[in-house]
Subunit: 339 residues, 2 copies
C-alpha cells in the first residue's frame, strides 16, 4: 500500500495556492485554478484534483499557457457572451463570463458562454454545477486533443470531447452527468498497459484501423467513440459547436505543449444555460417537483443517478479532509518552494 497523507481542505487550498504563486500564476489565476482542483479533490476525482497542478506548472514552463493572462469579456449578442482566455487557463475565463451568462439566460430564457483560446484541464461538471447552484440548467462541451477515431474510421480525429449537464434540485445535490464521448478515457488504456492487462473488446483500434485489445497498439492507434455511430455523431456535434461555431479549433488541431515551447494546447469551450424561471414563470416550482418524479422513478428501479459517488465523497471530504499519495504531496511541496 502506497503511503498517503490526509490534508484539511484549508491546507490543501493553501498548498495549491503556493504551488501556483511560486510558478508565476497571478493571484486571480491561482485562485480560479485552486477552486477547481480543490473541488475535484474534495469529490475524489483524483485525475482532476491536486495532481493536475503538476501539468499546469509544466505547461506554463513550456510556455504553453500564460499564467498572467487577463481574460477579455465580449458581449457578442443578447444571448451570447464570449470570453477570450488569451492563452490563460479556461477557469478564470469561465469565472469572468459566468455572471454575464447567468444574467443573459435569466433575461432571454437561454444563453451561451463561449470561451476561446483557453488552456483547459478541468472537469466540466464544475461548470454546469456552477449554473445549477444558481437555479439554471446547464450544458457544457469542449473538444480536446485528438485520440478518437470516428465510427467506421481508422485514425484519431476527434478529441475525447466531454459533454456535461446539470439540473437544479431544490434542497438536494443536482442531477449532474459528465462523460467523455470516447468509450473510455485515454488514461484507462495507460492503466491497462501498466498492469500488463488486455483491453476489453470494443475500446480501441490499431494503427491500421483493426480492432485491438493490446494497450500499446491502442495507444499507437485510436480510441473508439462510445455507443458506435451515435456517440461518434454526438462527438462531431461537440467539435462543431465548441469549435467552428465559436470561432475556435477542432480537436485534431490541438496539441499538448512540449518542452521546446511548441504545441497548441488552447481551444474553445461552449456552455449553455437555461433559465427555468424564464421558461416556466409561475409553473417553475411545480415542474421542478415534476422532474423529481423522474429521479425517484430511476432510484425506485435500483438504478443510480450519476455523480452520487462524487456527492458522497464531497461529504466525507468536508468532514475529514482529502487523502493524497505522499509522493504527490512531496512533489507539490517541492513545486511550492522557491528554487
Amino acid at each position: 500500500m502506497a503511503q498517503e497523507i490526509t490534508l484539511s481542505l484549508a491546507d490543501a487550498e493553501a498548498l495549491s495556492h503556493r504551488v501556483l504563486s511560486n510558478n508565476g500564476f497571478n493571484q486571480a489565476h491561482a485562485e480560479a485554478i485552486t477552486r477547481s482542483v480543490l473541488a475535484a479533490q474534495r469529490d475524489e476525482c483524483h485525475s482532476h484534483g491536486l495532481y493536475r497542478l503538476i501539468g499546469c506548472v509544466q505547461t506554463a514552463r513550456y510556455r504553453g499557457l500564460d499564467p498572467d493572462a487577463e481574460p477579455q469579456v465580449i458581449d457578442q449578442a443578447p444571448s451570447v457572451v464570449k470570453v477570450d482566455a488569451r492563452r490563460g487557463s479556461s477557469l478564470l475565463a469561465f469565472e469572468r463570463g459566468l455572471p454575464h451568462l447567468v444574467e443573459k439566460a435569466s433575461r432571454s430564457g437561454m444563453a451561451a458562454l463561449a470561451i476561446n483560446n483557453g488552456f483547459h484541464f478541468s472537469a466540466l461538471w464544475q461548470e454546469v454545477e456552477a449554473l445549477s447552484e444558481q437555479g439554471l440548467a446547464g450544458i457544457a462541451m469542449t473538444p480536446s486533443h485528438a485520440y478518437v477515431a470516428p465510427a467506421g474510421g481508422r485514425s484519431p480525429l476527434f478529441g475525447t470531447n466531454p459533454f456535461a449537464f446539470s439540473w437544479p434540485r431544490p434542497g438536494k445535490t443536482p442531477y449532474t452527468f459528465d462523460f467523455a464521448t470516447s468509450v473510455v478515457a485515454r488514461g484507462e488504456i495507460e492503466l491497462h498497459q501498466r498492469a500488463g492487462k488486455a483491453l476489453p473488446a470494443g475500446w480501441a483500434i490499431d494503427r491500421e484501423g483493426n480492432p485491438t485489445t493490446d494497450p500499446q497498439a491502442a495507444l499507437d492507434g485510436a480510441l473508439l467513440p462510445f455507443g458506435g455511430y451515435k456517440g461518434s455523431a454526438l462527438s462531431t456535434m461537440i467539435e462543431l459547436l465548441a469549435g467552428p461555431l465559436i470561432g475556435d479549433l477542432l480537436g485534431h488541431e490541438t496539441q499538448a505543449a512540449t518542452p521546446d515551447g511548441k504545441g497548441q494546447p488552447h481551444h474553445g469551450e461552449l456552455i449553455l444555460a437555461f433559465s427555468l424561471e424564464a421558461f416556466l414563470g409561475s409553473d417553475k416550482a411545480r415542474h421542478q417537483q415534476h422532474a423529481e418524479t423522474l429521479f425517484e422513478a430511476i432510484l425506485d428501479q435500483g438504478a443510480r443517478l450519476p455523480s452520487q459517488r462524487r456527492f458522497e465523497a464531497r461529504e466525507r471530504s468536508r468532514a475529514h479532509g482529502v487523502i493524497i499519495p505522499q509522493t504527490l504531496y512531496d512533489e507539490l511541496t517541492a513545486l511550492a518552494s522557491p528554487a
Copy 2:
C-alpha cells in the same frame, strides 16, 4: 416479392392530402402533415413516410388528436418561443413557431422553440434541417412513450427519446444526424419477432430486468439505452429539457391513444437554434470552411457522414418518384375515399 407501386411526388402529395382531408384534418394540418410524410417518403425513411398517415387517421378517430386544432404562439422570453399545439399535430405547431425561432436566434445568437401538447410522429431531422436550410445550426429532442429502462434499472421509464442535430454546409446537403437514445427502435424488436429471430445481446431486458434475446420477452420487458450509462444520462437530459423545462410531460406519462378514446399521446418537443452569423460575425464564412475540413477528414478515413443514404434517396425520388407497397397504396386509397 411483394407488389409495389411507383408514385410521382405530386401524386403522392395529392394522395396524402386526400387521406387527411377526408378524415377531418383541416387544410393547414393536412398541408403540414403531407409535407412531413412526403419528405420522409422521398428520403426513403419508410417508417416516417406515407405509412404514418394510417396512424394519424386512427389517432384522430380515437379522439387522440384534434385534426382542427389551431396552434397558439406564445412569446415567452426574448430567446424562447412556445407554441401550444392544443392536442393537434406537432408539425403545424412547428411551422407556426419556426419564423419566430429563426428571428429570435438571429437577433440573440441562440433561441429555443418549445412545442407543447402536440401529437408527435415525425422524424426530427426534418425540423433541424428546416433550420440548417436557413443557415442556422439546430438541435431537436422529444420524449416519447416509455419503452426504455435506465442503465442499471429494470423496467420501462424513458421514451426512445430521439436527439437530432443539423449543421449548414454551403452548397451541400447539411451535416445531419437523428438517433433514438435506445439501442434500437422498438420496431426492430417487432421485426425480429415476426422473422422468428433472436435479438443480439445488449438490446433488451425481460420483465424481471434480466438480459434477454427473446423478442417477446423484450416487448414485455424493456429496451436498453444505447451506450450504457452515458446514453441513459443523455436520455434523462432529453426527458428534463423537453419535459419539465418546457412545462410538459415525461416519457412515462405519455400513452398511445386507444379505441376507447383514452391515452395521453401529447407531449413536448424542444428545438434549439444557433445563429452562425451572430456567433461569428465576419468570421462566419471562414469558420464554415473550417467545419468542412472536419467532414473531409471523416470521409478521408473511409467513414461515412450520417444521413448520406437519405440524401442519395432524395435524389432518386426527385428523379423517379417514390415506391410504396401496393397494399399500403390500396389502404391509403380506401382512406381517401368518402365512406
